[in-house]
C-alpha cells in the first residue's frame, strides 16, 4: 500500500471522474466476487510492439507497428515503457522516395516515423531470441534499460505482433520463426515470474489465430487478424511509393483507436469488433477463455493507455505503516533511545572572526 499510494495519487489527477467509471459500474452488479474480478488492479502499462519482417515490399508491416506505437504513445504510455522492435529500416531505405518518412496512408497526412520515435530493437537485433529474452526478462548482462521489459505483477502489457505468419509460427527476419508453443511458454514464464497483471495479445499476420492457440496462462486476452487457414490482407497501395501501405486489420483498429481519447469510455469489447469480415475479408479471431473479466466492461485504456484505476476517497486514509506492522518488531522499538541532534556549522566561520 505504501508503495502504491504515491503512484496512484500522482497518476492523472484530472481524470478521476472518468476513470472511476468501471468501478461505479461494478457497484451495481449483484455479486461481490464479480465486483472484485471486474476491478482492474494494474498499476502501470507496458507495450511490446514488434514488426518481425524485413524487405522493402513489407513496408506495410512497419507502417502497422509504427501506427500502433503512435496510438499507445498518444494515449499516454511513455516511451520508456514501450519496447518497439522493427526488423527493417523503411524510413531510410534507398527505395523510399521520401527519405526518413513512413506513412500509413496514401493520403500521407501522418508521418508515423516522426521526430520522436524511439526504436529499441532494430534491424538484425529483432530476433526470436531477443524477443523471448525480452518477454521473460532474461536479458543478457549489459542490456540497456530501454531494451528491457521492466514490468511487474501490476503491469498491463500489450503485445502487438505483425509480419508474415503461418500455421503455428511467425517469421522473424527472413531466417527464423517463433512458434506458437514458444510464445505460449514465454507468456507462461511471464506469469510465473509475475511480470504481468493482464496481457492483451494482438497479432496481425496470416493465420494469426494459430499463434494464440497454445496459450494457457491466465489473464490473457488475445485477438488475431485472421483464423487458421486464412490470409490477412493489405488495405491499399500508395502508387507514389509503390508499396502496400497498411494491413486491413491494423487499418480498422487504428480507425477505432484514433477516436479514442485518454478518458474515453470505449471498451476492449468494442475494440475486438473493429474489423468485421465485410471489411477485413479475413475473420478476426478472439480468445477470451483465459480472461476473467468481461471485455465489454474493460476500458480500452487499460491496455492502450496509461490510465490506472483510481478511487476517489473522501475519507481519511492512514498512510502509516499500520498495515505492515508485522514487519516491525518490538525489539527494535525498544532499542530506540533518546538522542540529541547536534548540527555542525557548514563553514568554519570562526576562522574569519
Amino acid at each position: 500500500m505504501i508503495t502504491k499510494l504515491p503512484i496512484i495519487l500522482a497518476a492523472m489527477f484530472g481524470c478521476c471522474l472518468a476513470a472511476t467509471q468501471p468501478a461505479q459500474d461494478t457497484r451495481v452488479l449483484p455479486e461481490g466476487f464479480v465486483d472484485a474480478a471486474q476491478r482492474s488492479t494494474h498499476t502501470n502499462n507496458w507495450a511490446v510492439l514488434v514488426d518481425a519482417s524485413r524487405f522493402w515490399f513489407n513496408y506495410r508491416h512497419v507502417a502497422n507497428v509504427l501506427s500502433i506505437y503512435r496510438s499507445v504513445k498518444r494515449l499516454g504510455i511513455p516511451d520508456s515503457q514501450i519496447i518497439l522492435m522493427i526488423a527493417d529500416d523503411m524510413a531510410c531505405n534507398a527505395r523510399n522516395p521520401r527519405p526518413g518518412q513512413v506513412y500509413n496512408n496514401a493520403n500521407q497526412h501522418i508521418n508515423v516515423y516522426g521526430d520522436d520515435v524511439e526504436v529499441d530493437y532494430r534491424g538484425y537485433e529483432v530476433t526470436v531470441e531477443n524477443f523471448v529474452r525480452l518477454l521473460t526478462g532474461r536479458t543478457q548482462n549489459g542490456t540497456a534499460r530501454s531494451k528491457k521489459l521492466l514490468s511487474d505483477a501490476g503491469s498491463n502489457v500489450l503485445i502487438y505482433l505483425t509480419g508474415h505468419g503461418g500455421d503455428g509460427f511467425l517469421k522473424f527476419q527472413d531466417s527464423e520463426e517463433i512458434t506458437s508453443q514458444e510464445l505460449a511458454d514465454g507468456i507462461q514464464q511471464m506469469w510465473e515470474k509475475k511480470r504481468y497483471n493482464e496481457l492483451f495479445f494482438m497479432v496481425d499476420t496470416c493465420q494469426a489465430a494459430s499463434l494464440y492457440e497454445k496459450f494457457t496462462s491466465p489473464n490473457v486476452l488475445a485477438v488475431a487478424s485472421s483464423l487458421v487457414g486464412e490470409d490477412s490482407l493489405s488495405h491499399h497501395v500508395d502508387p507514389s511509393i509503390g508499396v502496400y501501405m497498411i494491413d486491413r486489420y491494423t487499418y480498422y483498429a487504428l480507425e477505432f483507436l484514433e477516436k479514442v481519447q485518454p478518458f474515453s469510455k470505449r471498451t476492449i469489447g468494442e475494440f475486438l469488433q473493429v474489423c468485421p469480415k465485410r471489411v477485413c475479408i479475413s475473420t478476426v479471431g478472439v480468445r477470451k477463455d483465459l480472461y476473467r473479466r468481461d471485455p465489454h466492461k474493460v476500458p480500452i485504456t487499460d491496455f492502450f493507455g496509461a490510465i490506472r484505476p483510481t478511487r476517489v476517497s473522501t475519507d481519511r486514509i492512514n498512510v502509516t505503516l499500520a498495515n505492515e506492522d508485522d514487519f516491525i518488531t518490538t525489539d527494535e522499538l525498544v532499542v530506540m533511545k533518546p538522542f540529541k541532534i547536534v548540527i555542525e556549522p557548514q563553514f568554519p566561520t570562526e576562522f574569519f572572526k
Binding site: 522493402w56 515490399f57 534507398a94 497501395v237
Partner: protein
C-alpha cells in the same frame, strides 16, 4: 530348348529374353509416346498460366512519373542524332553520345576493345562502347541494372534502330532526377552488334584479371568504372518513336533464358501501358487469322525451340545470361506509315518510356537476383508456359529407347556365362563350348571409341591451329574442308578397321549408352537442341541392328542409307537448304543448291567463331559429340565383320539363332 529348361537361368532372364524379342516395339512405343507428349503440351490442359512469384518486384504498384517532356527530349535528341549520322556513315557518333550523357549528369566512360580475327591471316578490329553510370543516391554501389541500346551505323545491313539511343538518354535524364534508386543504373550504348556487348561484359567481369592476351581473340580491355554486381539488364531496340508493337525477345546464348518472372514483369507492365507486346509478337494484321488454339500454341513452341536450338542469342540480351544476369530485349517495331490512327506526334513514345520506367522501378525493388520462378521453360502463349518438369518427359521418353535397348543388348551379350546361352546347334557343333569362357574385346572397342572421339576433338581444335590460320583462306572454306576431311576419315574408318568378334555388339551397347547420356546432357543444357536431335536420330537408333539377317536386306540397306543421311554435315546442309528454299523460292533449284552449300559453309565457320568468341557450344556439340556418335552409328549400320564368309555359311544352317553373338562365338571356339 535347353535354354528354357535349364534351371540355372533365372526368371529375370526369361523376361529379358521376352523383351529382347520385342525391343523394337518397346522402343517404338516409347518414341511415339515422347513425341505425342510433346504435342500434348500445346493443349491448354498441359500448360499453365504465368504468374509472378517474386514478391519484391511488385510490378505496376507505382504510377509512372515520366511525362511528356521526356518524350520531347527524345524527339529532340533523335533529330540531333540524325544529323550526326550524316557525318558518321559507318561509325558511331561517340563524342555526341558521351557529351549527352555528361550533360545529363551521368558518370560517363568509354570502353575500348580489340578483336583479333583468327581467320584469313588475321586482322584487327577496334570498337568503342560508351556507358554512363547513375549512382544510387543513398546506398553503396554494390548492385547495378543495365539498360543497353545497340547502335547501328547508317551503313549497317540490319534494320535501323537508331531511336533506341535517344530513348535511352531521355530515360536516363528522367532517372537522374529521382532519389529512389537502390541500384546503380548503367546506360550503355554498344556498337558492332553482339561483339561490343560481349566485349563490354567480359571487360566488366574479367577486365581486371590478368588473362593471357596473346591467346584471346577478343581483347576486352578493362573498364574505368563499375557498378557492383549486375542484377538484371534490359536491352532496348526501337525502330521508331512511334511504335506499333513490342516483341519481347528472350532466347540467349546456348538457349538460356531469363527468369520467367522477368518476362512476366515486362508483359504485365507493357499491358498496363496499353502497348501490344508479346513473345514473337507480329503486326496486328498478321495476328488476325483464325487458327485453332492448339495450332497457334504448337507453332509458338516450335518457333521458340527453333530459335533456342541454334544457341545463337537473338539480341544483345542473350550474352548476359552467361554471367547469370537476367536480361531480355524489348524490340519495338515501327508503326506502318499508312496506319489510319496516328497518335499525337508529341507524345508517341510516352507509353514506351512509361513502360521502361515501370520495369526499372520493379527491377530496382529486387532484393536479390531473380531466383523464384523458372529458368527453364517454353513459352506457349504470351501468358502460358510449360515448365521443365512438364517438357522433360518428352525427351526422357525418347532417350529411354537408347537405355532400354542398351540394357537388353547387354543382358543378351555373350558374357562369362556364354556357355549356357548357346543353343543346341552350337552345342552339337562343339561339345566343349560350355566349359570355355568367352571374352569380349573390351580393349579394341575402347580404342575404337577413342579414335572416333579423337576425330571429333580434332574437328574442334584443328581449324584454330596456327599453321592452318596462316593459310590465306577464308574461314568458311577452311572450316568446311577440315570438317569434310575428318568426316571422310570417319566414313572410311569402319571399312579399314574391323572389330574382332563380339566387338560390334559391345560397341553397340557403348554407343547406346554414350548416345543416351549425351542427349540427356545436351537436353538439360539446351532442351531444344537435345529434343530435335533426339527426334531426328532415335528412329535410326531403334532400327539399328548388328545382327546379320539376310532375309531383311532391304531394311539393312534402308538403315545404311538413313545413317548416311543423318551425318551431322548432311543435316546442317539440309537445314540450310530448307531455309534457303524458304527464303528464295523464286531461284532455280541448281542455284538454290549452290547457294545453300555456300551458306552451309558459312554456317560452319560462324559456328566455330561463335564458339571461340561467345562460348556457343553448338559447334562443339556437333563436331565433338554428334560426329563421333555418327561414326559409331555408321560402323554399326555397316556391320563389317571378320570372316564374313564363315558367318554366311553358318546362317544357312536350318535353325537361326536368337542370339546375334552366337556365330562369332562359335568362330572363337574353332579358331
Amino acid at each position: 530348348m535347353g535354354l528354357l529348361s535349364d534351371p540355372s537361368i533365372s526368371t529375370q532372364s526369361k523376361l529379358v529374353d521376352g523383351l529382347a524379342r520385342h525391343v523394337r516395339k518397346v522402343c517404338t512405343v516409347l518414341y511415339v509416346a515422347g513425341v505425342a507428349w510433346f504435342f500434348c503440351l500445346a493443349l491448354p490442359e498441359f500448360n499453365h498460366g504465368t504468374y509472378l512469384s517474386e514478391n519484391a518486384l511488385s510490378p505496376g504498384l507505382v504510377y509512372p512519373e515520366i511525362r511528356v517532356d521526356a518524350n520531347r527530349l527524345a524527339i529532340q535528341l533523335l533529330e540531333e542524332l540524325q544529323r550526326e549520322r550524316k557525318d558518321h556513315l559507318s561509325t558511331t557518333p561517340h563524342a555526341w553520345i558521351a557529351a549527352k550523357m555528361n550533360e545529363f549528369g551521368l558518370e560517363t566512360h568509354t570502353h575500348n576493345y580489340t578483336l583479333r580475327y583468327p581467320f584469313g591471316g588475321g586482322k584487327e578490329y577496334h570498337g568503342k562502347n560508351i556507358y554512363g553510370i547513375l549512382r544510387a543516391p543513398r546506398i553503396a554501389s554494390t548492385e547495378g541494372i543495365v539498360f543497353t541500346a545497340p547502335y547501328r551505323a547508317a551503313s549497317s545491313v540490319h534494320t535501323d534502330i537508331s531511336p533506341s539511343v535517344p530513348l535511352l538518354l531521355a530515360f536516363a535524364d528522367f532517372a537522374r532526377r529521382k532519389n529512389y534508386w537502390a541500384k546503380d543504373l548503367i546506360f550503355l550504348v554498344t556498337e558492332q552488334e553482339q561483339l561490343g556487348m560481349q566485349a563490354w561484359l567480359e571487360a566488366y567481369h574479367d577486365g581486371d584479371r590478368d588473362l593471357d592476351v596473346s591467346k584471346a581473340y577478343l581483347r576486352p580491355g578493362n573498364l574505368p568504372a563499375r557498378a557492383g554486381s549486375l542484377q538484371a539488364a534490359l536491352n532496348i531496340e526501337v525502330q521508331d518513336l512511334e511504335i506499333d508493337y513490342v516483341d519481347v525477345r528472350i532466347e540467349g546464348l546456348n538457349g538460356k533464358l531469363p527468369n520467367l518472372d522477368m518476362f512476366n514483369l515486362v508483359q504485365r507492365i507493357m499491358a498496363r501501358e496499353g502497348i501490344a507486346s508479346g513473345y514473337k509478337q507480329t503486326p496486328r494484321k498478321k495476328r488476325r487469322h483464325s487458327k485453332s488454339l492448339f495450332e497457334t500454341n504448337l507453332r509458338q513452341m516450335l518457333a521458340m525451340l527453333a530459335t533456342q536450338s541454334s544457341g545463337v542469342p537473338n539480341g544483345n540480351h542473350g550474352l548476359f545470361h552467361r554471367y547469370r544476369i537476367d536480361a531480355l530485349t524489348i524490340a519495338a517495331h515501327r508503326r506502318a506509315t499508312h496506319a489510319t490512327l496516328k497518335g499525337q506526334p508529341g507524345s508517341a513514345a510516352v507509353p514506351l518510356l512509361k513502360a521502361i520506367e515501370g520495369i526499372a522501378r520493379s527491377l530496382n525493388n529486387l532484393l536479390e537476383r531473380f531466383h523464384q520462378s523458372f529458368f527453364f521453360y517454353v513459352i506457349v502463349n504470351n501468358d502460358r508456359y510449360i515448365s521443365i518438369g512438364d517438357y522433360m518427359p518428352a525427351l526422357v521418353a525418347l532417350v529411354a529407347c537408347a537405355f532400354v535397348k542398351a540394357y537388353l543388348m547387354w543382358s543378351t551379350l555373350p558374357s562369362t556365362e556364354a556357355g549356357g546361352e548357346l543353343d543346341t546347334e552350337e552345342r552339337d557343333a562343339d561339345t566343349d563350348v560350355e566349359a570355355e569362357k568367352f571374352e569380349l574385346p573390351y580393349g579394341s572397342v575402347l580404342i575404337y571409341l577413342t579414335a572416333t572421339l579423337l576425330i571429333g576433338f580434332l574437328c574442334n581444335v584443328l581449324p584454330l591451329q596456327q599453321y592452318f590460320l596462316e593459310i590465306p583462306m577464308g574461314a568458311a572454306p577452311l572450316t568446311t574442308s577440315v570438317l569434310s576431311f575428318l568426316s571422310l576419315i570417319g566414313f572410311i574408318l569402319p571399312f579399314v578397321v574391323v572389330l574382332p568378334p563380339g566387338g560390334l555388339e559391345l560397341l553397340h551397347v557403348a554407343f547406346l549408352l554414350i548416345y543416351g547420356c549425351s542427349l540427356i546432357v545436351i537436353g538439360l543444357l539446351n532442351f531444344a537442341l537435345g529434343f530435335f536431335v533426339a527426334v531426328l536420330t532415335v528412329p535410326l537408333v531403334i532400327a539399328l541392328e548388328t545382327k546379320e539377317d539376310t532375309s531383311r536386306s532391304t531394311l539393312r540397306h534402308a538403315i545404311r542409307l538413313l545413317a548416311l543421311i543423318l551425318n551431322p554435315m548432311m543435316i546442317v546442309y539440309v537445314i540450310v537448304l530448307a531455309m534457303t528454299f524458304y527464303q528464295f523460292p523464286e531461284l532455280p533449284l541448281q542455284k538454290i543448291l549452290l547457294r545453300a552449300a555456300t551458306a552451309a559453309m558459312d554456317a560452319s565457320a560462324y559456328g566455330l567463331i561463335d564458339s571461340v568468341l561467345y562460348g556457343n557450344f553448338l559447334y562443339f556439340v556437333i563436331s565433338t559429340v554428334l560426329l563421333p556418335l555418327w561414326i559409331i552409328c555408321w560402323t554399326l549400320a555397316l556391320s563389317k565383320r571378320r570372316d564374313y564368309a564363315d558367318y554366311v555359311e553358318f546362317e544357312e544352317s536350318p535353325a537361326s539363332s536368337p542370339q546375334p553373338q552366337s556365330p562369332s562365338q562359335a568362330k572363337v571356339k574353332t579358331s
